[in-house]
């Protein structure tokens, strides 16, 4: 809110973009001044990403202008970049087999008669990394970097272009709280340097922490624009979803765990160094920690999705104890797994909703290997209604649904198996507030019905809201265990970052 140049550096004027018959962005205007951090919030599918892609010249608008420093911008990625607009994408847009330096200067590497100037390129890349304070080997291939590090390389690329306008689309989705703090401070630094920043996020607290002004989109229309000071988190959320949902938010459940269902002992795998873990019927166990702490590796090793070097896992369902040896045996024994990478691992986006739901349930929905279409349809329909898929059109391709709805489909296909043990890895990453609440509700119901649930989440409020007990993982080991009553963000963070040691 400090001193700001009066003139906006970038303006979007009545942008309209339709896909097929559908309006994605409906006459939206947004303007940002130098040094301003401007939040754009809205549910998935509200049109945020489309609007940003128009600003970055990746998509051509049907009508309306993008004005930078007073003159109208031609719609092309190159033009936008030259005009000083750079976009940090939601889904990482790095090239796996190119080096860090090359990725930072992708498409804009310095050349002499076509030849890349290696030294100069590395110098620029090094500066950019220095500016955001990250150290990484410039010659390393992206494919060998951790997710978080990739996110920072992504940001370094945007910064390296010395942009006037920096657009970040869900930059913290894959980051841990510590990294998020770092990123937010970094953005404030950049803004003070006079850069205009457009910040897209579902995480309302972050918005209120660093942003000066906010634009709220719903169904492709601008429903509110103004200074952050004149509004409150609750108001913002209400305007985003267009309905009261405080009810579903922040409702703790009183759980009464039953017998141990899952027992994992001495689990060793790449990134996992000897972990023992128990989950009881009707209990939600949360796994907290920083990205790269080995949580995903742990759960995948437990259920056999990845090969584990040593350790045994048993699943006890009404008295019968089975050993989980391979992933298939786990699924047959009654394990459900909602993976971290929804679009690539969770769903076959090119297939219809009912086909995705049929996938793990096919044996039950067929006789002698022949599918029973009627049964499959009925089954899928009831499930997609149960998880509140909107619209519940099971003949539609999964890829046509928004993130939140896609996640609901993933959950639905496992609910069909009445899992006795359910693993959810980052269940609401990149999911809008409304769907988030619904998914939380589903997870809780699942536990209430006696399923043992294991949740991995980097979203602390979510972890705290869902979990009955939280194990904090660092360097592939459980650093401490917190019961719901004495768990709070600080406690989890201190364990995750290894400041102190709590004995369970």
């Amino acid at each position: 809110m400090t001193t700001m140049a009066a003139e906006p550096i970038i303006e979007a004027r009545n942008i309209v973009k339709r896909f097929g018959g559908a309006l994605a962005v409906d006459g939206v205007s947004v303007s940002v001044r130098p040094g301003e951090i401007h939040a754009v919030v809205g549910e998935n599918g509200a049109g945020k990403s489309t609007l940003m892609r128009v600003l970055a010249g990746i998509i051509e608008q049907d009508s309306g202008d993008v004005v930078v420093g007073g003159n109208v911008l031609a719609s092309s990625a190159k033009a936008s970049i030259e005009a000083g607009i750079s976009l940090v994408h939601q889904e990482l847009s790095l090239v796996p087999e190119m080096t860090v330096a090359e990725n930072i200067l992708l498409g804009s590497a310095p050349t002499a008669v076509g030849f890349t100037k290696q030294k100069e390129m590395k110098a620029i890349a090094a500066d950019a990394l220095k500016e955001i304070g990250v150290s990484v080997d410039l010659d390393e291939r992206i494919s060998r970097l951790s997710v978080a590090l990739r996110q920072f390389v992504e940001i370094a690329r945007a910064v390296a272009r010395k942009p006037k306008v920096l657009i970040l689309d869900e930059p913290t989705a894959t980051l841990t709280p510590a990294e998020t703090d770092y990123l937010l401070e970094m953005l404030q630094r950049l803004a003070q340097g006079g850069m205009a920043i457009v910040y897209i996020s579902h995480r309302i607290p972050e918005v209120f922490r660093i942003c000066h002004s906010v634009s709220i989109l719903r169904d492709g229309q601008l429903v509110h624009a103004g200074s952050i000071a004149d509004t409150t988190p609750d108001k913002v959320v209400d305007m985003m979803v267009g309905r009261e949902l405080k009810a579903d938010l922040q409702t703790h459940r009183t759980s009464s765990p039953g017998d141990v269902v899952l027992k994992a002992s001495g689990i060793r795998a790449p990134g996992v160094n000897g972990i023992d873990l128990e989950v009881r019927a009707g209990e939600i166990v949360g796994l907290g920690g920083l990205v790269g702490a080995g949580r995903t590796e742990l759960v995948r090793a437990i259920i056999g999705a990845d090969d584990r070097q040593s350790g045994t896992v048993t699943l006890t369902v009404n008295g019968k104890t089975r050993a989980l040896t391979s992933y298939q045996s786990s699924v047959r024994a009654g394990v459900g797994y909602v993976p971290e990478e929804r679009r690539t691992d969770g769903l076959a986006l090119g297939m219809t909703v009912f086909e995705n739901i049929n996938l793990p349930n096919r044996r039950e929905l067929s006789t002698a290997g022949f599918q029973l279409p009627g049964k499959i349809m009925q089954f899928a329909q009831s499930l997609s209604e149960k998880v509140g898929l909107r619209p519940p059109e099971i003949k539609r391709e999964a890829g046509q649904y928004s993130g939140g709805n896609q996640q609901k489909i993933v959950i639905a296909k496992w609910l069909g198996r009445r899992p006795s043990f359910m693993v959810l890895d980052e269940p609401t990453r990149g999911v809008d507030v409304g769907a988030k609440a619904e998914i939380h509700k589903l997870v809780k119901e699942l536990a209430d019905q006696g399923t043992a649930v294991l949740v991995v989440s980097s979203d602390l409020p979510e972890l705290l809201e869902l979990s009955d007990v939280i194990h904090v993982v660092r360097d592939g080991q459980i650093m401490g265990t917190l019961a719901q009553k004495d768990a709070d963000e600080k406690a989890v963070m201190s364990l995750a970052s290894g400041e102190k040691m709590v004995n369970a």
């Binding site: 998509i59 996938l359 067929s366």
Partner: protein
């Protein structure tokens, strides 16, 4: 513009979540229909053209010839559709598979009788399927090179053990009768093709195995993480292909009553061409056995028409190539237009 086609998925995603009943313009729907059913239209037009302008085309005896062209390559193609839909490009080793089957069929039946011959051929076919399937499914090796190497190995063995000589069936007997037999103008070989198409179509669309082949083609990881042994699925796909190739070998051998290791040269890419013209995606996931059948009929009718018109071999190839590209271009363009 390609920019759009690339962001297409995101686009549609947003469109859908905004306006569930996002209606397409009528012209858009028309173009989509053409895009989806191009092969039907093409085949219909080609046949219509031939009937009107190419004398002799409509004669019964010529229809038989078209079926003779379509049958062996068609049986291979409908089988290979499984490998293509599973997202593994193609199975080059069908060349070796057809020849092996044909030689075994004639040679063994000459001594030990037909049932044993079929059994021996079946063994060989299953071995092909297993070798290809294991290498691709479990070793995650590249299908093109795997099937290329099994082609070398297979033809090598065939030529080593058969000495490469040409084998003749008896001048009369069941094989001969089957080879020359007809239902009206339809030779038995074409009947076999039809039956194979129906059976494989059921296998692909109505069974869990077929479902898994398709879903593997769309997203391997998601299929695996739904608790599927994807390795077995791939092996299955290659075995289906191998058995189809085996039957093609029988048909070919019975028709010509001879068998030699060189008789199926070029079956690999010719079958692929038919599959692609039919509209099955080489990306995997999308496609159908009936489309492949149409593709085969289209290519066979085309060749037949060109020969009837006394076009030389060179021009025949040019026309075939051009039509492959044309058929797919129409599809691609129509899709783009319908997006507008």
């Amino acid at each position: 513009m390609a920019k759009e086609t690339l962001t297409e998925t995101i686009a549609v995603a947003e469109a859908a979540s905004i306006e569930p009943q996002a209606k397409q313009t009528t012209s858009g729907r028309l173009f989509m229909w053409v895009a989806d059913n191009g092969i039907f239209v093409f085949t219909a037009l080609l046949v219509l053209f031939a009937v009107i302008f190419v004398d002799g085309f409509a004669s019964l005896v010529n229809i038989t010839d078209v079926f003779h062209r379509a049958a062996p390559i068609g049986i291979v193609a409908v089988g290979m559709t499984f490998v293509v839909i599973s997202g593994n490009y193609l199975d080059l080793s069908v060349v070796a598979q057809v020849a092996t089957s044909a030689v075994i069929f004639i040679a063994v039946s000459n001594v030990y009788g037909i049932p044993l011959a079929m059994l021996a051929a079946l063994v060989a076919a299953v071995l092909y399927g297993l070798a290809n399937g294991i290498a691709v499914g479990f070793f995650k090796a590249n299908a093109v090179i795997v099937t290329l190497s099994t082609t070398y190995i297979g033809l090598g063995l065939l030529r080593y053990f058969s000495g490469g000589s040409i084998f003749f069936g008896p001048q009369d007997g069941p094989i001969r009768e089957f080879g020359l037999g007809k239902l009206g103008p339809v030779p038995y070989s074409a009947v076999v093709l039809l039956i194979m198409t129906i059976l494989l179509s059921i296998l692909l669309t109505r069974t869990n195995f077929g479902f898994l082949v398709r879903s593997f083609g769309v997203n391997e990881k998601a299929t695996r993480l739904s608790g599927t042994n994807t390795g077995l699925v791939i092996i299955g796909a290659f075995i289906v292909t191998a058995i189809a190739a085996m039957i093609a070998g029988f048909v070919l051998a019975a028709f010509s009553n001879t068998a030699v290791s060189a008789m199926s040269d070029g079956y690999d890419f010719r079958a692929l061409a038919a599959i692609i013209v039919g509209g099955t995606s080489v990306f995997g996931g999308k496609g159908s056995v009936f489309r492949t059948l149409l593709g085969v009929i289209f290519v066979s009718v085309l060749t037949n028409v060109l020969v009837l018109s006394q076009i030389s071999f060179g021009y025949q190839q040019v026309a075939l190539g051009a039509l492959i590209v044309l058929a797919v271009s129409v599809d691609a363009v129509a899709r783009k237009v319908s997006k507008r």
